[in-house]
Subunit: 247 residues, 2 copies
Amino acid sequence: MADTATGSPRTLLNETRCQTCSLSSLCLPLALELQDMDQLDAIIRRRAPLKKGDSLFRQGTPFTSVFAVRSGSLKQMTTEGGGEEQLTNFYLPSELAGLDGIGEASYPGTVVALETTTVCEIPFDRLEALSETLPELRGQLYRSMSKEMRDDRRMMRLLSRKTADQRLATFFTNLSDRFRRRGYSPFSFRLSMSRADIGNYLGLAVETVSRILGRFQTQGLVAVSGREVNILDLEALIEVAEQEGCR
Amino acid sequence: MADTATGSPRTLLNETRCQTCSLSSLCLPLALELQDMDQLDAIIRRRAPLKKGDSLFRQGTPFTSVFAVRSGSLKQMTTEGGGEEQLTNFYLPSELAGLDGIGEASYPGTVVALETTTVCEIPFDRLEALSETLPELRGQLYRSMSKEMRDDRRMMRLLSRKTADQRLATFFTNLSDRFRRRGYSPFSFRLSMSRADIGNYLGLAVETVSRILGRFQTQGLVAVSGREVNILDLEALIEVAEQEGCR
DNA sequence: CGGGTGGTTGATTTTACTCAACTCAGGTGG
DNA sequence: CCACCTGAGTTGAGTAAAATCAACCACCCG
């Protein structure tokens, strides 16, 4: 997705402050006054871009910071009892990774870059301290956390009640929506994750993902070529995603 | 579960203060000084007990408070697009319901009592205000939220990777553990939820739940009679729950 | 040019769902 | 007090959906 992200909304290199960041209206600064934004700005650490496959933090590593994605994308994975990995989330620009480590000694999951990705590191103790005097910031943090909880609930619903077709359709409409909100085309984008990632995330075998993508294609819902996606009939896709009483 | 909850750890009627509440070591007051606890205490509203089937709040109702369970148990459900209900959580004594509504205008789910249940209502604006001066309280709130996020992740893992057997085994070991932490027997308890609830929660058909319970019984893992559960071989149950590479 | 990864397609199998019948316990009302 | 009814739970038979196994393709990179 970063490949796309370096595109449309101008992502200037000197865009190193919340005030000038094109994502500020979606990210933590949302609802902050200019001067407050400066204060938040002061505690944020910019990091060297992550390369594809680099991990932002690993499961079990001491928890220190939450991270806002500036460009690119991340995936979060958890391993339990030495078993295989479960992919629990994708993070797009303006989204916060690491929230589920708050209050814990260590991160409960590993977060890895799916492509070249830049993030803002926000040391949590500093954020905590700052939020003591900035109610809006605190509120925003709560909002981010409870939003992630609601997203998790939606995901649980998807995993326990939806068919493979519905899962894929939901995945695409959800991505489309998130791109739209960020100012990118909701109809045409590049997937930064592999089919295996998608399958893992949606609780499906890779083969199933592939097959259903093929079917969607013949049905004229989407045009997929490798990781390039064109949504041809968003309405119909939403229809598939939400159709009920199928099982 | 309340049936059990009214039992062992003495639940006196005049136990109307956090300081004397047997759950304070698990609930929000955890890590608070005595005097701080008093302050929290002051904002908490006790409510008349809910009867089985009563709803604590309904999806779409304006968000005002979070609720700590004092005795009994709750289930949380969400309906999406007029579809059927998805059961997303059970709440036992000391656990907080409503966290996922924080920062939203309305509750994203409906919470219903599974049996006679008493709760402490904590108006969120008051909690917010109080947490401004009590870092420990704030931290505890963060911890509760991020814990729920981690539980959600575990649930997602369960729904997308585990077999029906593993799901049931996980469900029982998890319940057992939660009862143990609360001072009840980890081996013998009463389910406050129906088979349908369990199935809905675990993403399984009622019949499947029933069948697997039967199998567990013949395997000597548990003895189930109606809603009365005796765990006969917790080790083996954990084994089943965690076995990997089965699919 | 060869090896490897990521992706697709086909055939078969497995798992859990659906549909249906049936049991059981609790509650109600005659 | 008992017959009946209802809802919850169990059990069985057949089915459908997606997993697995296996082969194959295409692109990329050295």
